[in-house]
Symmetry: C2
Subunit: 345 residues, 2 copies
């Protein structure tokens, strides 16, 4: 195809908080899929906090982006041309690709999307990587038991909102931290959280927790770090488990962040703190997806997506993650409403 | 009995570092054992870092001492009178009692001591609570695998020196931090540690680790906290395990200590950090004791005790723990050499 293809390039490593200067929109050619690949017309792009790590020039779990690379991330789109027997033109798929209007996906790495179960953006959130992260992080690392108190930071995000609901499905008392009253209301009124704390309208996190988690904290699912985490660690019960999924409060730090030491707090409760990467659970993604789809289809697992329209806005959507602009999963609708078709149920 | 009985009382809660003013030696009566109890002539008293926690007026895993209480701790002694069928006068036993010349022990809580296996002080160290702490902390929390690198802080202490040797018995590469050249030499020359770092003669802990642990750290057994721990956390390998046994660097802090945040360092390696209390493993103490005695008897597990002579010196021995005066296990010989008999093999 010789249509122009808008693509976002990574052109400058940020120091501290990333800016729009890190990104550049260029016009390229629509790529040609090779054997085993799919050419996809991208409908939605995912922007995720972990991508901040890929902007650093240091090896971590996610390979760093090289300056001059096309940006990469999760997408949902429609197959335009298939070089794999597993898919044909017109199929809706999700997978890892590039921040572009047209992208090539490895068919083995792609998964089908069923718009009868949920609208397309949900496949980048509750039915995508964030949903799987919540599922394995809570169940495998957090090991919640009925009657226990589960605290979630970043609770109105794609991961946190799913964590809290799965904890409720497991019979737990659930407390979430979020940054606006709209978000805290969503958590308690729509998602069934037992309590939610707006961390921007109080700074007495420990006192707030004393009120809504009077029996202490059995499971803490941490997406954030910083002072919220400091407060939660002072309330860990015997045998408490902490899943360290993200530390978005610190992703833009240029100096090593400091804070209250936590190891002295772990001894008396024999608490366990464990870092979490969803890729470790890849062999069980199928089972997770099936369970998550079942819960979504039955209405037991609610979800929201915050949609920014137009591929031109992708960097803004990414930067907005660090100020908490999103409720639920932040996605980018590539075409914008003027060009997109509606595959929502 | 109407002999006088020297007893140490806890008379003042410390702020910050404890001083001799916290303790008072008084003369009481020799107690009378009740049914199920033993009257023991105490030969050796144990002083342990965890006792600092009992000096605080706040509930923790160890019940706080009340001001005015007789101090409590582990002892080894000889049964003088028995109200239990399990022991008779002349038996050597170890158990929990008071800092005093004569003490009453619960027979159910006592264990026999065999001076053919090791001299009596060892039953407060490698064959006592510290040895069991090392055993369960390393094997159950640290889960060392052959070929892995194990780092131990407080490595020349009663717990740390045992941890390192058990790690060697499990085929690991072992690196210890200790505070004098005498200690580091003991670790490498006598105990078989692969390397030891004197934390007082360098402050470049990370660089020192780069040299002796070039492949990173798989297991960290932490007795200390502070800057040593800060350095080790920057070198955790994928799937690393950290056993938080003690944080002696922070026990005397009056303010909440601060330092580099560690949770951001856990995500990429999916490291696990877990607090440890040996009492959780009580049902398996028998098996641990059997294994530790076997290793000690065969010479595979070496040990040292630092003996302070005379019950009058017990507080000094305790305070010395915080300046690292002890090599191996710190004990107090109650009678002093002029009154004691030698039960050592």
């Amino acid at each position: 195809m010789h249509e122009p293809n808008q693509e976002w390039y990574f052109v400058e490593r940020p120091e501290g908080e990333p800016t729009l200067d890190c990104f550049e929109l260029r016009e390229g050619d629509v790529p040609t899929p090779r054997r085993g690949e799919l050419l996809v017309h991208v409908r939605y792009l995912s922007v995720d906090p972990y991508m901040r790590g890929r902007m650093r020039d240091s090896a971590s779990y996610a390979e760093p982006w090289a300056v001059g690379d096309v940006l990469q991330g999760g997408v949902v789109g429609e197959v335009v041309a298939s070089e794999s027997p597993a898919y044909e033109a017109g199929d809706l798929v999700t997978g890892r690709a590039t921040w572009s209007e047209y992208a090539v996906l490895d068919a083995d790495d792609a998964a089908p999307v069923d718009p009868e179960i949920a609208d397309l953006p949900a496949y980048l959130g509750v039915l995508g990587m964030p949903g799987r992260t919540a599922y394995f992080g809570l169940l495998d690392v957090g090991e919640p038991r009925p009657g226990e108190t589960v605290v979630v930071s970043g609770a109105a995000g794609a991961v946190g909102s799913t964590v809290g609901q799965i904890a409720k499905l497991n019979g737990c008392r659930v407390v979430g931290f979020a940054g606006t009253d709209e978000k805290t209301s969503w958590l308690t009124d729509d998602l069934g959280f037992d309590a939610a704390i707006n961390y921007r309208t109080t700074d007495a996190y420990r006192a707030a927790l004393d009120e809504v988690a009077p029996d202490g904290v059995d499971v803490y699912f941490d997406n954030v770090g910083g002072p919220i985490t400091d407060a939660v660690f002072t309330k860990l019960n015997v045998d408490a488990r902490v899943a360290v999924c993200g530390q978005i409060a610190h992703y833009n730090d240029e100096e090593v962040p400091t804070g209250p030491r936590k190891l002295p707090l772990l001894i008396a409760p024999r608490a366990r703190v464990q870092g979490l990467l969803v890729s470790d659970y890849a062999t069980r993604f199928g089972a997770a997806r099936e369970q998550l789809e079942t819960w979504v289809a039955s209405g037991e697992l609610d979800h929201r997506e915050t949609v920014v329209e137009g591929i031109a806005k992708a960097p803004d959507a990414f930067l907005g993650l660090f100020s908490g602009d999103n409720v639920g999963k932040q996605v980018v609708e590539v075409a914008g409403p003027s060009r997109g078709e509606d595959h929502s149920p």
